[in-house]
Symmetry: C2
């Protein structure tokens, strides 16, 4: 068994030992909202947004991008599990801002026939606006869901507002 | 400003106030591993797996499924940011086990031309094995990465091993 696997299992046993009433929580998020953010190891959405177990859906991928899969998750989140507000949170010093699709294709020795859209971006704020708008314009996303676009600052822990698409606008 | 947005901003200010040395963390995960798990509100991977900020990548979507986007994220995780071990963690009482693709298509009034693969499943353990194997067999995933398949029990907080694909076997 690897050192990492052992550590995770020991940590999990400690957590489960003091699980208390958390076993009674239901699937539908208590606070009826969802956060889409980056997989970056420095980000702990439960801590930086003040979530307890049961409060909110958290979707994470490389970049916190509005990929087809993030859309699948958010649609399930609202339609089957009742979320009513969504956050899209990118962050400073993101890997996807430092590399281009071509750079990453090269790392994997992918030729032009097999290239992948890694969802890299060159302007962090623009990428948030682009992602919020992609959601807001999606035919299956109801206009009633406000979508908040933010950037998390890895140096300070602060969330900075970039763009808010409410039911009143756009 | 919505009640939820206000709460998130207040929680974030408190978190950032005591940020201390976390601002010095680098993008590459200290513990060199990644977890793929479900967006379910009851799951807090940092708590159930004992992660501090900076330790590990966390990727989350509806079901913790190995979607194309989860693969994109994991490939970036290992190739650009050095993770060497991966966990795929589904959980009990998952929404994707309770609904079929047809059920969810109906919720959205999607006709047969516009149906979506919502990545639902009927057997939780099988879905973990299927996902771990999809990763393990992917041409861009190196054989050296062990992939641990687990199910998180929402009633107890315990992780239960389902399947481990190491560099030696599959």
């Amino acid at each position: 068994m690897s050192k990492i696997l052992k550590e995770v299992i020991i940590s999990n046993k400690k957590y489960a030992k003091n699980f208390n009433t958390k076993g009674n929580l239901q699937a539908a998020p208590i606070k009826k909202f969802a956060i889409l953010t980056c997989m970056d190891a420095r980000l702990d959405p439960a801590k930086f947004a003040g979530l307890s177990e049961g409060d909110a859906h958290v979707i994470r991928n490389a970049g916190g991008r509005v990929s087809d899969d993030a859309i699948r998750s958010l649609l399930i989140s609202y339609k089957l599990l009742g979320t009513e507000e969504w956050f899209v949170i990118h962050h400073t010093d993101c890997g996807l801002e430092k590399f281009s699709n071509t750079d990453i294709d090269k790392e994997f020795n992918l030729d032009s026939k097999n290239k992948i859209d890694w969802l890299t971006f060159t302007d962090n704020e623009k990428s948030v606006v682009e992602d919020v708008l992609r959601l807001k314009k999606h035919p299956l996303v109801p206009n009633s869901i406000p979508i908040y676009g933010y950037i998390y600052d890895c140096k300070t822990g602060n969330l900075k507002e970039v763009f808010e698409a409410t039911n009143l606008g756009i």
